[in-house]
Symmetry: C2
DNA sequence: ATTTTATATCGTAATATTGCAATATAAAAA
DNA sequence: TTTTTATATTGCAATATTACGATATAAAAT
């Protein structure tokens, strides 16, 4: 026990959960908001924006990248990061569908 | 070390992270999808829908409720659960803004 | 009153996450 | 070529999450 029982759920359920989980930390939200604010890919500079040590930031960036929320291109000795909208679109559409279905719910 | 440094981030960043985190588990996504499917509040019945023991489901329901994603009303000896769209709206709008900002990004 | 049904809480083991110092890597600058 | 700069990886301690058996609670049914 202790580990998530992913095998009991559908691929789509697991995929949505993985994306949501990656966004489930304020440092990672702060990274996304920074990339949104500068509105371009950023080479370097992310570590200085956050109140966390460099290895910690690197780890958070890796998780966002694994979930498909950001893209990273090597650019010399720096790495250019930017938001990958496609994955945000997946989430947005998923939530939109839920909201639409539920809006006229005959509920308590 | 080990604990999330919430105090370094804004209230909004923490709030979005808390909601996303609550959705970051396939069992909780499955619960949301079940509530969406039946399209009404459900009294009882959720435990039988999931491949997890009753205390585990109860715990997941509590987390969804704490994050504001579902509402629960006591109805006799059962509890009626349903989706709380307001919180999904918060997320949807948040992601919509990100997507809009980023769509014309001059990126790598 | 007792039993059943639905749900919550407690305790705890297994596992995962968070954060960082130390170190590694690899390109750029000197 | 040495140093600097940017980032990743490793290893580990602190903490959090996941899952569930056992047990508690409380209303409904008998």
């Amino acid at each position: 026990m202790g580990a998530t029982k992913t095998e009991h759920f559908t691929d789509q359920q697991n995929q949505i959960a993985i994306i949501a989980k990656a966004l489930g930390h304020p440092a990672r939200i702060a990274i996304i908001e920074y990339l949104q604010k500068v509105n371009t890919c950023i080479c370097g500079d992310i570590v200085n924006e956050l109140p966390l040590a460099q290895p910690t930031v690197s780890q958070h960036l890796k998780e966002l990248k694994n979930a498909g929320l950001i893209k990273g291109n090597i650019e010399g000795n720096a790495i250019c990061y930017c938001i990958d909208e496609k994955t945000f679109d997946v989430l947005k559409n998923y939530f939109s569908t839920i909201i639409q279905t539920v809006t006229n719910q005959k509920c308590c």
